[in-house]
Amino acid sequence: MISTPVAQDILKILSKNARLPAADMAKMLGVAVTVVEDTMRALEEAEVIVRYTTVVNEQKMPQMKRKIRALIEVGIRPERDRGFDDIARRIAQYPNVVAHYLISGAYDFLLIVEGDSLEEISSFVSDKLASTDNVRSTSTHFIMKKYKEKGILIGEQEVTERLAIMP
């Protein structure tokens, strides 16, 4: 059920709007509601859909205490019998780490780290990350502004004016 074309369509639609009612999706795809509901359940159970979250533009909410974010490149000293996955598991566990990728190039891992203050992130890097076994080097880049996330432009949306009636 999770490998059908309908499942792929559902994933595409949900990735744009996870709150679209199953009944609407069923009409869009020309299938029964139960097909959509069963497929979604199957996708969730198989953990293809891991979770439904939100894309937030904190800039629009000045009263909200903003999280500080940083991208951190991490160099790893590989060791016999100890692969990247093993090391990654230790790092990804920290709640400050909101994303963690293995990358090609000069560094091995790319982390996105979140904290309430610069100090929190700095101390995470020096106390936790840099002292983790096999971590050879780190390079931290604080994020100053968010323009796009998950394929969605943040900030001013384009408005196009169209004639309301056209033959």
Binding site: K12, D24, M28, L29, G30, E158, A164, I165
Partner: protein, 384 residues
Amino acid sequence: MSMMLSRRVRDLPPSGIRKFFDLVVGAKDIISLGVGEPDFATPWTVRSEGVYAIEHGRTSYTSNLGLLACREAISGYLKDRFSVSYNPETEILLTIGVSEAVDIVLRTLLDPGDEVIVPEPSYVCYGPLVQMAGGTVVSVDTSDTGFIPTPDMLQSVVSPRTKALILCSPSNPTGRVIPKETLLELLALAVKHQFWIVADEVYAELVYDVAFTSVASLPGAKDHVILLNGFSKAFAMTGWRLGYLCAPPEVVAQANKIHQYSALCAPIMAQYAAIEAVKNGLSELESMRRSYEHRRNYVVTAFQEMGLSLHVPEGAFYCFPSIRETGLSSEVFAMRLLEEKRVAVVPGSVFGLGGEGHIRCCYAADFDLLKEALSRIAAFVKAL
């Protein structure tokens, strides 16, 4: 005063859509399903090529036919997508939208009194442009065959003066796509009676769940078909004003004379942007197509649930349900829907024969608004 204006222009019927337009334009809080264009902006990669062209001073005229590089790109694109082959040097003319292409093709073909068969309901520009070119419109009502023109219905109106048949598939306003077998028969008719098929395929890329056949791809079509297409609908480029006409070299050469005097050339930045569109815009085209398809499915189901009958549109972004059961004329229906429910649709009567008793709804609208509009239409129909 009116005596100082052309009889031909004064005789043109005013657009049936005009008074509607005035009503809708002033009003706020209206959801419009009356538009005729994509609800997407042009893909960014295409826009940025247009900007690049402007920034680099590409702001001049081009050759009358259009930039050769653009004609070559279109030639390759047509071959890949629709299996039609046109020589970029002599068989493709870039125009200011398909609109200009329709105009100059008719002026190229027609002598006074020549007849042009227009299957209706049809897009609104064909009839008036035939008249302006001095021709006579021969309208054919296709509503009995699900808006598909058939050889039988055309046979009865073909005359020695028949110069051309206009085919619009996928169709504005009905969304119907003419099947390949029918196209073969229509082409045979054109060959037998020696008239041209002018094929407006501006919606060719927006086809769902059926295979689209370009009439120009059929064997023997080259000498009887003039193919018109453009970037407006497929690549969401309505404002760029770029279309093209593909035909045998002699036709292109003659049409180019009119184009040269009345338009000179198509906008150069649009031509550069178009090269990018066919080169790198196809994946975005596909995601737009999927999005229309989802909305098409939704709209069709919604009308069926309202109990309005319709021929499932296989292409474009229009749905043309029948409102006969309501007992209202299409104009009254549209007017009351606008006043009572603040939803704008286009009355079918403006599209010629066979359009009465229908409304045209464009589903290239934001999904939430579309959904809201449909629930208002449902409430309106229910209360009648």
